[in-house]
């Protein structure tokens, strides 16, 4: 009988598989609570919104399963200094 191929990979390896794309992963193992260590690639795309729609579809079809979305590439481009915002409350 043919053995089922393991199509799961460490998250760090998945990060290296793609170049400047968002990747949707089904999480199969956690290192610690809330910290995925291994998973199965479900989709990859340059558009974050496309991955968001696939995430919604995945969860609608697979309640209870965990997904993880990561950006394979530089989340912050080299040479960019991040100075972000604060919010002001209206009252």
């Amino acid at each position: 009988m043919a053995q089922k191929k393991d199509d799961t990979f460490p998250i760090d390896e998945i990060r290296e598989m793609f170049d400047s794309e968002w990747v949707l992963v089904e999480v199969t193992a956690l290192r610690r609570p809330g910290q995925p260590s291994r998973g199965r690639v479900l989709a990859h795309h340059q558009s974050r919104m496309e991955i968001a729609r696939k995430t919604r579809k995945f969860h609608d079809a697979n309640p209870g399963k965990m997904s993880y979305t990561l950006f394979a590439g530089d989340a912050i481009p080299k040479g960019v200094v991040v100075v972000l915002m604060e919010s002001r409350t209206t009252s």
């Binding site: 809330g34 729609r53 965990m66 979305t69 989340a75 991040v82 604060e86 209206t90």
Partner: protein, 138 residues
């Protein structure tokens, strides 16, 4: 008055440090894992419009509009939603308000973990070990 509870070990959340800032994994209802930048300069937690789409019905209803003061820009208005929960490491915060806001295009991030989350804990950021440490208040 709240105080640090030495009886409970702190939760060490390993992240990644990119050009000076710390990025950690967070989990929203689904469960949906995402990567947020830890931002002690953001008064509120931020999710991007794409994350709002991924989260679906749990965030479709906007609570109100909030005025936002981005660095170097004029005031803008953004919708506020209530996240059913957000988990970082072993710690979960329920009913957290978050702004839906686009982050600058060169950044490939899903959100900012802001002060309205961080203030629930005694927080230490270890930049050298790329770790966010959350201690539950008593």
């Amino acid at each position: 008055m709240s105080s640090w509870n030495p009886g409970r070990p702190p939760d060490r959340v390993r992240g990644t440090r990119k050009y000076g800032v710390l990025i950690v994994s967070v989990t929203c209802p689904g469960p949906i894992g995402l990567e947020f930048l830890v931002d002690t300069g953001a008064a509120m937690t931020v999710i991007t419009p794409a994350v709002a789409v991924a989260l679906g019905s749990s965030v479709v209803h906007s609570l109100r509009q909030e005025r936002v003061a981005p660095v170097g820009k004029t005031l803008l208005s953004a919708p506020v939603v209530r996240l059913q929960s957000i988990q970082v490491g072993g710690h979960e915060v329920l009913d957290l308000e978050a702004l839906i806001l686009d982050l600058p295009p060169p950044l490939h991030l899903d959100g900012l973990l802001g002060v309205n989350f961080l203030e629930r804990f005694r927080v230490t950021i270890e930049f050298d070990t790329e770790t966010l440490i959350l201690r539950r208040k008593t």
